[in-house]
Symmetry: C2
Amino acid sequence: MASSTAAPWKQLLVNALQANAPLKHSSFFQLATIGFNGRPSNRTVVFRGFQEGSDKIQINTDYRSRKIEDIKHCPFGEICWYFTDSWEQFRINGTIDIIDGSNPDPVKLQQRERAWFASSLKSRLQYLGPSPGLPCISEEPCNEYPLDPSTGPVGAFCLLVLDPEEVDYLNLKSNERLIYTSKRNGDGGQCWMLEKINP
Amino acid sequence: MASSTAAPWKQLLVNALQANAPLKHSSFFQLATIGFNGRPSNRTVVFRGFQEGSDKIQINTDYRSRKIEDIKHCPFGEICWYFTDSWEQFRINGTIDIIDGSNPDPVKLQQRERAWFASSLKSRLQYLGPSPGLPCISEEPCNEYPLDPSTGPVGAFCLLVLDPEEVDYLNLKSNERLIYTSKRNGDGGQCWMLEKINP
């Protein structure tokens, strides 16, 4: 059992990101949530870094996408992140916080603004397009809107922050599997239990 | 609206498999289910082909793994399959059938046997190892069991068959998104509705 401010699995993940960095798709992972209909839902999203000074994982998304309704209904998610070069898998289960423009917390609004300016202009333009998931009514490409680079986050831009509670690490080269489980201390701190299990 | 025996999205998937065939990991996808604790669960699994003459998707798994309990509790799953070369994503939602050695249906037992012999000897050996997910009590590698190539499926070997009901196809190169939804006819047949939606 280890108690520290930086989660002990975080260094494994940082190493995997470095080892697989030449592959553009190494920053993509699959996020599972539970849909409004009670069925699992699963999609590829882009890793937008850890929240500053923490092990929370950031994802940008469109507030109009179906996953927002899903997460409002059931805030739990599991990331499955498979690194194709190093044969490592991270399954990261946790609770997801939705930070949109109406969030009452000024610190969270700042985080959302930082995430907006950290993404490319091309990425930002997507949030000006038509609602994702709605019937496509135009044959024209819809992303030809002007956007000033200094313009702050638009209404549809939303930051998701996943707070990890369990991390299941599998290394297919060494055939090793580790489970990290978060426990809250009485004083509000967090510690991580580590167990080696059969792959 | 199209009605046919072969699902209209199947050819798109077959094409993607061919286009991405040089990448070993193109046969891997992420399967989301709902855990016993009501939280989403997500892991990488290997595509083991379509069930003969159908568009059902086969996955091999260990009967002792946690996902079996999950699927018994909630039979729904969503595959997220991202092809890193062609930038195509398939989200395939459906119901999962568990076929283990105690299945009363002789046709399903045959399918399970075929899946066993279609997998490599190395893959088969995994089912003789210790229970996945249990604490690792040995420091020794545990997969040094003898296995005769003509031996049929062992008790832990299990075939999962996902019957697709909705397929959400996204092409990030053409920026096109299509939703295929299955409808059952009165006569027990199946037809697929197609809708083009915003990505």
